[in-house]
């Protein structure tokens, strides 16, 4: 079990890399420090994974340190918990052990790629340090044993994305995009924070009552909470019923939606393309956006006892998947196409989790990491070579950047779900899961939901093949575009540091799916389970036929439109004019948000200081003026006029003499007679 403590190193070594990046003299060496730290982390995470594979059915391993806590004399008073423990640590189970290497490897490859991509950048050192920090945050998130630790890492990921998207801070768009990413995801984070706080309020008294005195029991801990959720479902926790669980699950979902850029909190993701392209790869493949899906997977026991929320998860996922695919199809900016494809794929994962296909969802997270990183890094190579992001201005990549183009082709195949590529296995298990549409607790969706989900998944299967190949055909196979000041002849293959990661990722995109095939000894589904039994998705022939068939149709259609135009089909894009424009604008969600923020926040905000000046201050001033006026009036008594003084004096004389007389004769109220 001590072996698992390597996970501490897995998590902390990149943080050390980030800190030590400021020691070396040259920025190049700083980058090497960061890469080395990530590499160490990756190797160690593989060791942990290997050990875990050897002990498949062992209990999850936890190691904790306490940050701050207090246990006052009276632990519980009137149902309100007075003790408090904040812990951080590591949790090693199938889920975290399998995701840790993915994060580390993607980060490692992205950093290697950045060596070339960012060459000569002014913020070279900062860039690598922040990537290392970002990696650390994501690793810590994956290895979190409790909600608090998860939230720490969650915010660390947000911070990392803020700094990386805003890496080119001198570009106003980049600065705005960084702000937007942080802000929008933080709105989701508040949901998560609220879930934590809410969960504490609901479960901490029960946890405390179960814990023997003198022992620390962390009411944020996932294992503790899993037990509690189950208890609550059975009605054993006082004050917690189905509604509470549903609210909790919805709040967690809100956090997940924000980070995973699902509708309606997706708007930050396309803007985030203002960051350097390798950063996009990092954010989209294995870190930031994956965190939301990971969160749902991690808290799946909660969702299982709140089945209605699972329906919401599935519907949001399906909606986002279709939305992402449609918008991706309309865009011409290569990075935005891939960005919207991320929304789409994450939507698929949500759908899978929502219909109870837990393994399929996590599996797609796993395979998606490879091909999405691949697409972005390859796109980065092309962008750097062509100096543009518009696919219409590229063309002819195939003949000039052979390796990159091959890699991109493989990535597109994988993304489209072409048979035997990585994406195929995971996507088809999702399709199968949606067709079966069940989750282990025996819940089920209504017929309408079921039908909607099936339609959505089918549509995404088709469109999901269409848009990557549209991009590929236009940008790579099309004729070299004629642009002023640009000679396509000078386009060369990228340097080795940028090609190598792409090749590795391409290889993984091809083969990584095979571990998901059921029947083999240690399959993904056998390994990754958060429940008490393996969640192995049976191989479903209907799903394969449907998913793979639609994918192939999509590829074929793309071919017939953009390579060998068939008039009937080739006219389609032109007919879609208005829809395409709307889609390119993200269906005006951004504008709607801008309008809402302006009306609901900015305008009232502008009003507040005016109210302060006009009313709050005016009242204060009014009181002050009143006092002042009285004082001025009183001052006239002191106007230097003798008679006024004399009058005052005599008033005093009258009052005092009268008072004394009354007092002396016992007629003054409250004063006893001294007669």
């Amino acid at each position: 079990m001590q072996y698992y403590n390597l996970t501490w190193a897995v998590v902390l070594v990149p943080l050390g890399g980030a800190l030590f990046a400021y020691l070396p003299e040259s920025a190049r060496n700083a980058a090497r420090v960061c890469i080395a730290s990530t590499a160490i982390s990756f190797v160690l995470s593989l060791l942990v994974l290997a050990y875990r594979l050897g002990h498949l059915h062992a209990a999850p391993y936890e190691s904790l340190i306490t940050f701050w806590s207090f246990n006052p004399a009276q632990p519980i008073g009137g149902g309100v918990v007075n003790n408090f423990t904040a812990q951080a640590g590591i949790l090693v189970d199938g889920l975290s052990a399998s995701i840790l290497p993915v994060v580390a490897l993607v980060s490692l490859l992205v950093q290697v790629h950045s060596l070339g991509y960012m060459r000569g950048d002014a913020g070279y050192r900062r860039y690598f340090a922040i990537i290392a920090f970002f990696t650390f945050s994501m690793l810590a998130l994956v290895a979190s044993p409790n909600f608090l630790n998860l939230y720490f890492a969650w915010e660390g990921v947000g911070l990392g994305s803020f700094l990386l998207i805003g890496h080119w801070w001198h570009k106003p768009e980049a600065a705005a995009a960084a702000k937007k990413a942080f802000l929008v995801t933080r709105i989701g984070d508040l949901g998560l924070l609220l879930a934590i706080v809410f969960g504490f309020a609901k479960f901490a008294p029960h946890v405390a009552s179960l814990t023997p005195p003198g022992q620390v029991s962390d009411p944020f801990n996932f294992s503790v909470l899993s037990r509690e959720w189950q208890f609550a479902h059975q009605g054993l926790v006082p004050g917690v019923g189905g509604r509470t669980l549903a609210i909790l699950a919805l709040l967690v979902l809100m956090g997940a939606i924000g980070k995973s850029a699902q509708l309606p909190l997706h708007t930050w993701l396309p803007d985030a393309m203002e960051g350097p392209t390798p950063i996009s790869a990092l954010i989209h493949a294995a870190t930031m956006v994956a965190a939301g899906v990971y969160l749902i997977a991690r808290t799946y026991p909660l969702f299982l006892v709140a089945p209605h929320v699972l329906t919401v998860v599935a519907l949001i996922g399906a909606l986002s998947a279709v939305f992402g695919a449609v918008v991706a199809l309309a865009h011409t900016d290569i990075k935005r196409i891939i960005a919207y494809s991320t929304i789409s794929h994450l939507g698929l994962m949500f759908t899978a989790l929502g219909v109870g296909a837990f393994t399929a969802g996590v599996f797609h997270l796993f395979t998606h990491a490879w091909f999405k990183a691949l697409l972005f890094l390859a796109a980065g190579n092309v962008i750097q070579a062509y100096g543009t992001q518009d696919i219409r201005e590229m063309g002819g990549v195939w003949s000039r950047m052979r390796i990159t183009a091959w890699a991109m082709l493989l990535g597109c195949c994988s993304a489209a779900g072409v048979v035997f590529f990585a994406g195929f296995w995971s996507k088809d298990s999702i399709v199968a899961g949606v067709l079966r549409n069940q989750f282990p607790d025996g819940g089920h969706h209504s017929l309408a939901v079921k039908a909607a989900l099936i339609v959505a998944v089918c549509a995404v299967s088709l469109l999901g093949a269409l848009y990557p190949f549209r991009m590929f055909f236009i940008a790579f196979l099309g004729d070299p575009a004629r642009r002023r000041g640009f000679t396509p002849q000078r386009v060369r293959e990228s340097p080795p540091s940028m090609v190598m990661p792409v090749v590795v990722l391409a290889a993984l995109s091809c083969v990584a799916g095979f571990i998901g095939i059921s029947g083999a000894g240690v399959t993904f589904g056998n390994f990754v389970f958060a429940l008490d039994k393996p969640q192995n998705e049976p191989f479903d022939i209907a799903g394969v036929l449907l998913g793979a068939g639609l994918a192939l149709i999509g590829v074929a259609v793309a071919y017939l439109i953009w390579v060998r135009p068939v008039p009937a089909l080739a006219r389609l894009p032109a007919r879609m004019g208005r829809l395409a424009v709307a889609a390119r604008n993200g269906f005006h969600v951004d504008a709607a948000y801008a309008w809402l923020v302006d009306r609901l926040v900015l305008r009232p905000a502008a009003l507040v200081p005016r109210v302060d000046e006009g009313i709050t201050d005016a009242v204060a001033d009014g009181i002050a003026d009143g006092v002042r006026a009285t004082a001025l009036e009183a001052r006239r008594l002191q106007g230097g006029r003798l008679q006024a003084y004399a009058l005052t004096a005599f008033v005093g004389v009258v009052l005092m003499a009268g008072g004394f007389t009354l007092a002396a004769t016992g007629h003054f109220p409250g004063v006893g007679a001294t007669r």
Binding site: Q643, L647, F650, V651, V653, V654, A657, G658, T661, A664, T665
Partner: protein, 214 residues
């Protein structure tokens, strides 16, 4: 031994009436005349209760000397005889109210005191032979020191009055100091205007006042 009530009441009414006339008549000269009448009546009151020496002093000083001074003052100040120069202040009802309050308090005190101020009986000897000798005894034995102080005070006051009223020197000094004060004020005003002008100019040039403390 006793005081003739009729005489007392008549005199008392006259005293109060003339006193009211002093503050009530608008013409200052008329008021001065009423004042003299009032003093006479007070003297009569003293006589009526058997204070002969006081009555004589009252006549000499109050009815004789002081009104003369006052009439001189009236004559030396132009305008004080004009009608508009003798009006009442705006808030005279307030003053009346306060005065009535004062009177009420005094009457109240008298009412609750129940005449308990008697120590002894006024000896017939004083009524027969007059009070001059006894007062003289008191002044020169028991109250010798205050008597001397009072005389010194009177002397000093009169000398002071003469000094104050002398026109030439004091006036010149006053005028000089007045002039100096005016010049000083002028200088201060000038300096302030200068500063304001400079500040306005600075603001116009877009330079805010520097924050010197940081």
């Amino acid at each position: 031994m006793t005081v003739n009530p009729v005489a007392f009441y008549v005199i008392a009414v006259l005293v109060v009436a003339t006193a009211i006339a002093v503050v009530a008549v608008p013409n200052i000269i008329h008021a001065a005349v009423a004042l003299i009448a009032c003093f006479f009546m007070v003297a009569a009151l003293y006589l009526a209760i058997g204070a002969d020496f006081l009555a004589a002093t009252q006549l000499l000083i109050y009815a004789g000397a002081i009104p003369v001074l006052i009439i001189f003052a009236v004559m030396l100040t132009r305008g004080s005889m004009r009608r508009e120069g003798n009006s009442w202040v705006r808030w005279w009802p307030l003053a009346l109210l306060v005065t009535m309050g004062l009177g009420a308090v005094l009457l109240g005190v008298f009412a609750v005191s129940h005449d308990r101020w008697h120590r002894g009986t006024y000896p017939q000897r004083l009524l027969d032979d007059g009070t001059t000798r006894t007062i003289g005894d008191a002044l020169l034995n028991r109250y010798a020191l205050p008597f001397e102080v009072a005389s010194a005070l009177l002397l000093v006051a009169l000398v002071g009055a003469v000094l104050l009223a002398r026109r030439d020197e004091s006036e010149a000094v006053l005028e000089r100091s007045e002039e100096e004060r005016r010049q000083r004020e002028e200088r201060v005003r000038h300096r302030r205007e200068e500063r304001d002008r400079a500040r306005r100019a600075r603001l116009r040039d877009g330079v805010s006042t520097p924050d010197e403390s940081t």
